[in-house]
């Protein structure tokens, strides 16, 4: 069994990698790069050569290519000590045409060209666009840069090697002086300490914390009053940075971070200032020179770990999708399975016919149509039809849950009925009947147990679908869930988010299939995944 599962997991990992590769080919190679700028305002407002450069800069951000402007190359030379700052300034200005370059500039331009061309880059020099002999068109300044398209393998490798990052004390650049680097384990978490006027500790609380210096996060492990009580920042998952959906934020964080309005609480900052704040001190990450940049930080912090997230009161995107989805899943199993059993027992009677009409309705009618129908009916009954995040009302959950549950009830009814009717003519049923068991016993104890096995297989998949969210339902009821993330990312050409969300979906789906198989073998002892033949 263990060996089999290991092989399945390896297969799963392989297919996840293949999926990410396919998605990368789709969005990076097949899609026209220019479409990235379709909804870009800056692009519209730049012109001429500046627009070209803007395009390459943006493409680098989106992960299409590696872009190096001439000035960056000179700066690297200065940093490596091959060039002094004064010479750099004199050779940085290139002429409007190559012919206009000074001799020294020419030398460095040649060096730049040779260096990057030998590494497979394409060097582009855009001559100044002239309006008159002396005036340059707006944005038409001369440009020199090199670029190289990132090949698929490199992109894949980079993506998967950066997927999971583990904190270490050399994460912050060696050159930055932050005192002694190291990791400290304390039983008294400083976040919970309060101070007297003279700076001595007034109160402290027994709480385990691991604090790092030199790591990106300050708190690597801490406890608090929220589920699951012990939290860690030691290992983080990077699914890919977003560019337009939530700029600069990792998809994983977008999915799991709380949303909504701030929740204020009494926070004692490291300098001893106590105030009402929504900052989450445990989320502090390093931001170089930040303490000295703002008086606000200077008054509150003792080091540069000042970059914090805020505590927000509402569940995350995945949280909302999961909450609505899981209730719908549970409800549909609780309702769908018994209804399917009744339909099978009363085959060809009225109940069965009504059930069949309902199933045909759900299968045949476009899902959009019946969701709108539920919305209209719900609205007539006085239920809220849109989701308002800060509303305390629990009623707004009803319609999304109903819209999700009703179709899956139909699916369950259909299959349970089918499987049970298929079982009804088996020999063991005839035997049980001849043994004098009542119809109720036969159905509930014997047939149902056999018919439920394929249904059990689908449970993990429906839970996974609940996490991923339902696109139409969440859109129709304006639920701030994860279902819309992929479509939003596609509409905004946010490649990082597309890849990240796909990876997330693929992982969940692979895991749910494996879990389904395990669950099936637990329910049905006849199914065995061990390689030994019985």
């Amino acid at each position: 069994m263990a060996k089999y599962l290991l092989r399945r997991l390896l297969h799963g990992v392989f297919s996840i990698i293949a999926v990410v590769a396919i998605v990368m080919i789709l969005i990076y190679s097949l899609m026209d790069r220019e479409t990235v700028f379709d909804a870009d305002n800056t692009y519209v407002h730049t012109a001429s050569n500046q627009r070209e450069v803007y395009k390459y800069r943006k493409w680098e951000e989106y992960g299409y290519l590696d872009y190096v402007p001439y000035s960056d190359y000179l700066n690297t030379l200065v940093r490596n000590g091959e060039l002094d700052a004064a010479t750099r300034d004199s050779v940085a200005a290139i002429g409007r045409k190559p012919a206009n370059d000074s001799a020294a500039t020419k030398k460095y331009v040649k060096q730049f060209t040779d260096y990057y061309e030998s590494r497979g880059y394409t060097v582009v020099r855009l001559n100044a666009k002239m309006q008159t002999t002396t005036r340059v068109v707006s944005g038409g300044q001369q440009q020199l840069f090199a670029y190289k398209n990132t090949p698929l393998i490199v992109r894949l490798w980079k993506y998967f090697t950066h997927l999971i990052s583990v904190e270490n004390i050399h994460n912050i650049d060696k050159e930055i002086d932050i005192g002694k680097r190291g990791i400290k384990i304390t039983l008294f978490d400083p976040v919970y300490q309060t101070y007297n006027e003279d700076g001595t500790i007034a109160h402290r609380k027994l709480a385990l914390a691991i604090i790092g210096n030199g790591t990106r996060h300050k708190y690597l492990l801490y406890t608090d009053g929220q589920f699951p009580y012990i939290h860690q920042n030691l290992i983080s998952i990077n699914l890919g940075k977003s560019y337009s959906v939530r700029q600069g934020i990792d998809v994983f964080i977008t999915m799991k971070d709380h949303q909504g309005s701030y929740v204020m609480s009494t926070v004692t900052f490291p300098t001893g200032i106590t105030e009402e704040s929504a900052y989450d001190l445990h989320s502090a990450t390093f931001s170089q020179g930040s303490r000295n940049s703002l008086a606000f930080y200077q008054a509150r912090f003792t080091d540069d770990y000042t970059n914090m997230s805020t505590v927000k009161g509402n569940p995350s995107k995945v949280g909302y999708s999961f909450m609505i989805g899981i209730i719908a899943v549970i409800a549909s199993y609780l309702i769908g399975v018994p209804l399917g059993v009744i339909m099978a027992r009363k085959k060809d009677k009225l109940v069965d016919k009504i059930g069949t009409i309902y199933i045909v309705f759900i299968i045949a009618v476009p899902s959009l149509a019946y969701i709108f129908l539920f919305k209209a009916i719900g609205g007539k009954l006085g239920l809220p039809t849109t989701f308002i995040m800060d509303s305390k009302s629990k009623l707004m959950y009803i319609l999304p849950i109903v819209s999700l549950a009703l179709p899956s009830i139909a699916g369950l009814m259909k299959w349970i009925r089918r499987y049970m009717i298929d079982q009804m003519n088996s020999d063991y049923v005839k035997f049980a009947r001849s043994g004098g068991l009542s119809e109720g016993e036969i159905f509930n104890k014997h047939i149902l147990k056999n018919a439920i096995i394929p249904i059990v297989h689908g449970i993990p998949a429906s839970v996974a679908a609940a996490i991923v969210g339902a696109i139409i339902t969440e859109r129709v009821y304006v639920v701030p869930g994860a279902g819309n993330l992929l479509t939003e990312a596609i509409n905004k050409y946010d490649n990082g988010v597309i890849v990240g969300v796909t990876l997330f979906y693929a992982t969940l789906s692979v895991l749910s299939i494996i879990l389904g198989d395990i669950l099936m073998s637990l329910v049905d002892p006849r199914i065995s995944f061990s390689s030994k033949a019985r």
Binding site: S15, I16, I471, V510
Partner: protein, 330 residues
């Protein structure tokens, strides 16, 4: 034996010679089958039309198809200009049926009111459904053809099975909307792009389904016997297995065709659909009309027509699938 049951031979009015002629054993004669002639398709239609409901549903389908394909031709619907003929007349916009009839006089085209640019909802809905239904039929045809052929090979060959199962596991994990939206982005949202996007991976699910069916009947005794007698694999596939699967394929088509209409509606709704004014596009465009009092007809008309078309297609397909199962022909 009772005497009264004895037959008087004279009532046949035949001579003794004829009555007692010797009948030789004839091999040719003994091969003749005296059962009534059985024609598969004849029986399919006999079983199909025996149910009264099928005749009703089929005529409804015919009516829908006439409205979908013939009505726009009769009125000479021009998709470029017709939706915008009244665009400058504010008094023609968002009218419900009674107001529209009041405004324009009674005509078939105003019985569903008018839309956001004063166009006839009735006309737009039928033109939209001609696009959606065509898309569904073409996609179903392509996907079923590729799916059945690939699925048959997939089920037969163990080597192909290994490769294809892996491909299926991988492609199945790529979100479907991603394929479609990338195709739409690459090639612009035209009708044939949509067909391409819906068929590029759509056949895979059908092929997988067919593969499972083929595996189930591949190793039955009659196929084993056929193989022992030296029938080539291709002939087994075409003559022994394919007829067995006709009802499965028809049933599959019954679920596939409506599902493409639903899919088109869904894609238009999330903003990745066709540029043409298909049913999905109409629903998407009229979404706000749903909650605006007096404008409901604009929204519910395309929704209702889409639902009726899909339900009718589904029922016809399912019943045809039932009828094409030889076990129901007895």
């Amino acid at each position: 034996m009772n005497n009264q049951e004895l037959v008087n031979l004279s009532e046949f009015e035949l001579s003794d010679e004829e009555l007692f002629a010797r009948v030789d054993h004839n091999d040719m004669e003994s091969e003749k089958i005296t059962a009534p002639r059985y024609s598969y398709w004849h029986s399919v239609f006999r079983v199909f039309f025996k149910k009264r409901i099928n005749i009703i549903v089929l005529s409804l389908l015919a009516l829908l198809l006439i409205f979908t394909y013939v009505y726009p031709l009769i009125i000479g619907y021009n998709a470029e200009t017709d939706p915008f003929v009244n665009v400058n007349d504010a008094s023609t916009k968002h009218l419900n049926p009674s107001k529209a009839i009041e405004r324009f006089g009674f005509h078939l085209k105003w019985i569903l009111g008018s839309g956001a640019s004063g166009e006839s909802t009735f006309d737009s809905v039928w033109y939209g459904s001609s696009i959606s239904v065509s898309l569904a039929f073409i996609c179903a045809l392509i996907n079923l053809t590729i799916g059945v052929v690939v699925g048959a090979v997939w089920g037969f060959s163990k080597r192909v099975d290994m490769i294809m199962t892996e491909v299926y596991n991988i492609i199945g994990n790529v979100p479907y909307i991603l394929f479609i939206s990338v195709m739409v982005l690459i090639m612009s949202a035209s009708f044939w792009t949509m067909v391409f996007a819906l068929t590029i991976t759509g056949w895979l699910g059908i092929a997988y389904f067919i593969r499972t069916q083929v595996i189930i009947i591949r190793d039955r005794e009659y196929n084993l016997a056929s193989r022992c007698l030296g029938t080539p694999i291709l002939r087994i596939a075409m003559r022994n297995i394919l007829p067995f699967m006709t009802s499965v394929i028809v049933t599959l088509a019954a679920t596939e065709i409506p599902s493409y209409i639903s899919y088109e509606v869904f894609l238009s709704y999330i903003g990745m659909g066709l540029k043409d004014r298909s049913l999905g596009k109409l629903i998407y465009a009229a979404e706000n009309a749903m909650v605006t009092p007096g404008w409901e007809f604009e929204f519910w008309s395309p929704v209702a027509i889409a639902s009726i078309i899909t339900v009718v297609l589904y029922i016809v397909g399912q019943n045809l699938g039932d009828a094409s199962d030889p076990r129901t022909h007895m």
